[in-house]
Symmetry: C2
């Protein structure tokens, strides 16, 4: 309504939105959405499901989020941020390999329902070019973190200098991805044993290889002698 005295819009009784309560409510909805998406997938869970899980009406939902896609994107952003934080903590540890193994044991080898969304995210990225860019950027960040660490460890003689840091980082990332599938493929997985073997593999892979390939004891082995992968 026009206020003729001021010549502009009447601005009395402006009610401000409480940002704390607003964010809290958004958080509740996000939590409900996470449970629904974990249970049924991004496409399988409907806005009706999310409303039921959050105990609200559709109108209420759309008061806080403009669309279902916006909810998904918020959730993805949170997930990627959490993952980046995880790797940051791993790389800040005293023994990085042990920290990585502890993380794999905790979040990948044990069946964590919310981890399913990573599989959904990868599948979605393979289809949606826009979303692929987000994943690629995120992966590039994590890869950079790993390769920086590897370079440093190489200069300290703790990692084989013959390994390319970027390529090695890719493999470590793939290892985390692959570990995520293990408890799905085998729910009776012996986690401790898996971690132990992963440790063996990583230590043998990454350790400086002054001796390897020039063993002073002849090997009873069919495959060709071990070769280092040389940096260009």
């Amino acid at each position: 309504m026009l206020n003729e005295a001021s010549g502009g819009w009447e601005t009395r009784a402006l009610r401000k939105v409480d940002p704390v309560k607003h964010e809290q409510k958004r958080g509740e909805i996000i939590g409900a959405a996470l449970r629904c998406f974990t249970r049924d997938g991004f496409r399988g869970a409907s806005t009706t499901d999310i409303c039921a899980e959050a105990g609200i009406s559709p109108g209420h939902l759309y008061h806080y989020f403009p669309s279902k896609l916006a909810i998904v994107e918020t959730l993805i952003d949170m997930g990627l941020a959490r993952t980046a934080l995880r790797f940051e903590k791993i790389l800040a540890a005293t023994d990085v390999i042990e920290a990585l193994l502890a993380d794999i044991e905790e979040t990948s080898l044990r069946f964590r329902p919310a981890q399913i969304l990573n599989l959904d995210g990868l599948a979605e990225a393979a289809r949606n070019p826009e979303f692929a860019k987000v994943i690629e950027r995120h992966t590039a960040t994590v890869r950079r973190m790993w390769s920086d660490f590897l370079r440093q460890a190489q200069s300290q003689g703790r990692v084989d200098p013959g390994l390319d840091p970027e390529a090695t980082a890719n493999i470590l990332i793939a290892l985390v991805d692959g570990s995520r599938a293990m408890p799905i493929r085998n729910p009776k997985l012996d986690i401790k044993q898996s971690v132990a073997h992963l440790r063996t593999m990583l230590e043998r892979f990454l350790s400086p290889t002054a001796v390897q390939g020039t063993a002073n004891k002849p090997r009873n082995q069919a495959s060709r002698p071990l070769k280092l992968v040389r940096k260009r």
Copy 2:
């Protein structure tokens, strides 16, 4: 219509279904469904999409398949059979490691759209207990193939006898899974370099370790000395 003379159903002019043409038509529909599911996922692709892709009507589709789920299941069965065949061929090769790497290079590290369905399958298995059993059984078969090979290679001194065959098989399977995500996470992936590093990792991991851990040259290394994972 009842035939009163014979006392049973009239059975004149019985037209037999041609099993060859029938199977061929089913194959065409399956092919169209594969393209649609690859493009949009099991939930994202509709029966209408499949009909359009196959150039048929809905009535026609449901003449050959009782439901959309039946199409999905057929496709999954074919995919699992193909995967089992792949591993069979790998394990029959002269140099198994090289055959595995060639397979990873060909079907996982290169971006193959149809491979996306493996991710969908894993995600689905994590949600649908019935489908999970299919995946678990299939994985168990592949794991058995690997562990049998590993045991044989151990007895021939070509693989470290300190490794548990089942646990090692799990890791190899996870490696294939993880490799599938690499080209999605990084489309500019240097495939040759990735294969080379995977080769290095596998050779160092699997090779008999008579020398490892008892290096005659002191190591400038922070982590604990290498330990073999002992079989119980």
